[in-house]
Each structure stands twice: as C-alpha cells, then as structure tokens.
Symmetry: C2
Subunit: 208 residues, 2 copies
Amino acid sequence: MKLTRDRIVDAGMAVFAEVGYHNLSMRQVADRLDAHAGSLYYHVRGKDELLALMADRVCVRAHDAGTEALAALPPTATWQDRIHAQATTLRLSIKQHPGGAQLLAESPGVLSIGALSLMERLLRTLRDAGLPAEHCGTAADTLLSHITGFVLQEQNQPAAPPPVTPELYADLCERFPLLMDPSTPRPSQDEKFTRSIQLLCTGFAAPS
Amino acid sequence: MKLTRDRIVDAGMAVFAEVGYHNLSMRQVADRLDAHAGSLYYHVRGKDELLALMADRVCVRAHDAGTEALAALPPTATWQDRIHAQATTLRLSIKQHPGGAQLLAESPGVLSIGALSLMERLLRTLRDAGLPAEHCGTAADTLLSHITGFVLQEQNQPAAPPPVTPELYADLCERFPLLMDPSTPRPSQDEKFTRSIQLLCTGFAAPS
DNA sequence: ACAGCTTTTCGAACAGTGTTGGAAAACGCT
DNA sequence: AGCGTTTTCCAACACTGTTCGAAAAGCTGT
C-alpha cells in the first residue's frame, strides 16, 4: 500500500502505544508499514518532525475527547467544572501512551494545530466565565504547563520504589521531617490532580 | 587521575553545559576524563543513573541558590515573596543548561536528595505561613510540576519562529480568534512566570 | 504499446550511540 | 616479590537516525 504522511503518523502512534516514547525507532515504524526505514524520509524530514506530528495528533485526540466530556456535562456545570473536564481529558489522553508526556514536552508546541485548539478552548471558557481578559492568557498557559508537568512527574514515577534501609529511613526523617511526616495524608494521583486544578481555578477567580 | 562517581558527575555536568541534554553521550563524558567509555560503567550503572545523579546535582545547586536568595530577602518579605524567590531560583538553575528541564523531567525525582530538599523547604515556608497542613503537600507538588512544565515549554520554544504565510495567518485568525487577538498583551516569559506563581499563591491562600 | 518522465521505494552504507565481557594494568598489603 | 583486589582498557555487539545513488513503480503523451 502506498506510503503517506498520515499513514506514517498512524504507524508511529501504534508503535508508540506499544513500546513507549523511549523505544520508538524509525525502523519499527517502517516495519509496521512493510517498508524500509529510509523510505520514511521521503515523506518526513526526520524523526523530530514525526514526533511533532504525533504530538499534534495526541493534542487533537485530547481535544476531541474534551468536546465529548464537555457535552456530557449538565447545564448547571460551573466554569470550574468545564476547566476540570478539559484538564482531565487532556491528562488521560497523554497518559494513554507510555511516555506521552515526554512526547508533548519535547516537541515545540506552538505551531501545532492540536495544541492551539486546546489552548483556544481553554481561553474560551475562561473568557465566558467573565474573567478579566488580560489574565486569561497566563491562566491558560499555566494550566497547560502545569498539566504537562504533572503527567510528566506522574509517568516517571518508578514502578517499584527503591527499598529503604532503616538507617536511611531514619536519616530521611531527620532531614525532611515535613515530607516524611506520616500524619499528613498521602492522596492518590487523581485526588492530587483535581485538587491542583481547583487550586488553579481559585487562583484565576481571585482578584489581583 | 582516579575515576570516581563524583568526578564522573562533574564531567557530565560540564559536557551537559556545553552540548546540552540531547547531545550528551557517555563517550564525551569519558573523553573529558581522559578515560574510555567502558570504564564509566564500573562506577555508574548506566546512562540513566548518571542522568539521575546529574539531575540531583541541579536540584542541589538550585537549593543552594535558593538559600542565598532567601537570605537576601528583607525581613518584611511575605511568604509569597519567599515562595517566589525559591521558584525563580529553581527556574534559573534549570535554565542554566540547555535542555535542563528535560533532564529533570526524565529522571524519577522522588529518590533524589536535592529534589527532596527543594520540596522540604517549600513545605516549610508554606507551613510557616499558616496554611492548612493538609493542603501544603499538594501545593508544593503543584509548584514543582508547574515550574518543570513551564521551563520545559520555555526551553523548547523554537529559536526561529516558522514563517507564516498571509493565508495561513488568516486561517489561524479565523480558527483561533482569542489566541490571535492582537489586542491582548503578550507578556514576556519572566512576567508570565511571576504571574503564574502569584496565581498559585493566591490559590494556596484561598480557603477551600 | 512504447518511450520518457516523475514520484516513490529500496538497500546498502555511514557515523554515532549505550552497553558488555574478557584481558590487562594498577594498586594495596603481607 | 608475590598475591589478590580494584580499576582500566579495548574490542566488540546490537542498535540508532540519516543519507544517497540506483532501482522500481506510476503516470502521460503519442
């Protein structure tokens, strides 16, 4: 079958979902298309461009998932709810592939249609909420960079936490008493995420 | 001279400062020590571990810079000022090396002494500010992931923005009217950063 | 159907990467 | 001096992204 920019990105997304960001290679993408690695370079400038196209596709998927989530919201939903819905769908879309946050993080996101769509809709909801126009830009920027950073840290959490010897544990407790305080609740990632979004929203709403 | 874990990390940081994150290779690090690449593996499990050690060192430097910045603050400084000082020094420390955000983003940061120190001090200032203890954890987490995401997006901004043809520009204006609105102010990165930190601080301070 | 031309694919090669394992050297110690 | 351990070398392996000339495939006009 004929080789095409779109088909290459499709194959890229497929192997991306299987092997993750770090193990994605041009040869694997080519193999999935029954083609040779060199042939890809006729349609794509290089791996960087392919990654950028894939990042854009992730954003587009997140955008589509976001419209669905927004449509499912009851009419009584506040603008905070709408922001939260968009943030959550974006987070889940990124988390769908291993290393998805890296993919978004590496590619310069400005020129991507998908990223622009996400941004525009965030701005839209913030403006419709009646927030001052001059603050909406930084608010949306903050949301996006925060979500990226959050999923990044989330996906890089080691699967098996390293074993702590008792002496090391004691040392840690002494040097980092607040961090190691067992009385503080240790919320799940989902809770942390929704709380951080609420945090940002109250920051947006507060007059400055 | 003898090869040592610390000396390897030193050389890694030097190469890192010169060539950036993406072009850092074990052979270059070894060359700087007049050694062969294979010798590094006696002291370091692999490149991942070396990168983790380097990420920790960046955090330690950021921590030290943060103590200086805090010491230079007047006694009348609010807790928001103290948070801002720490955030700014962390941002600058990361930006010192090209691709520094990637370095922090890739390495699982939990087990790093430097990262823990940064976290602990953030928690300290938030607790000293009188914020409710059960919120300080997510607040500090949000701060760190936001800063990482911010510098990431900042460092990945393409040096030369791609040229926009008039027709493309018109299309963009139609699809993204809010983003393309020329009347909205376009603040510098520094302004965006301080504003986002202020945003987070007001979110922290607001009762939930 | 054939030639001619363009678009696309191949296949081999290049330089570079992280990593490994056995041989060789350096070191410390009795 | 000799032995044992710690450290370094060196050559290799299996990859990676990318390039380039040649070969194939597809289309057009006659």
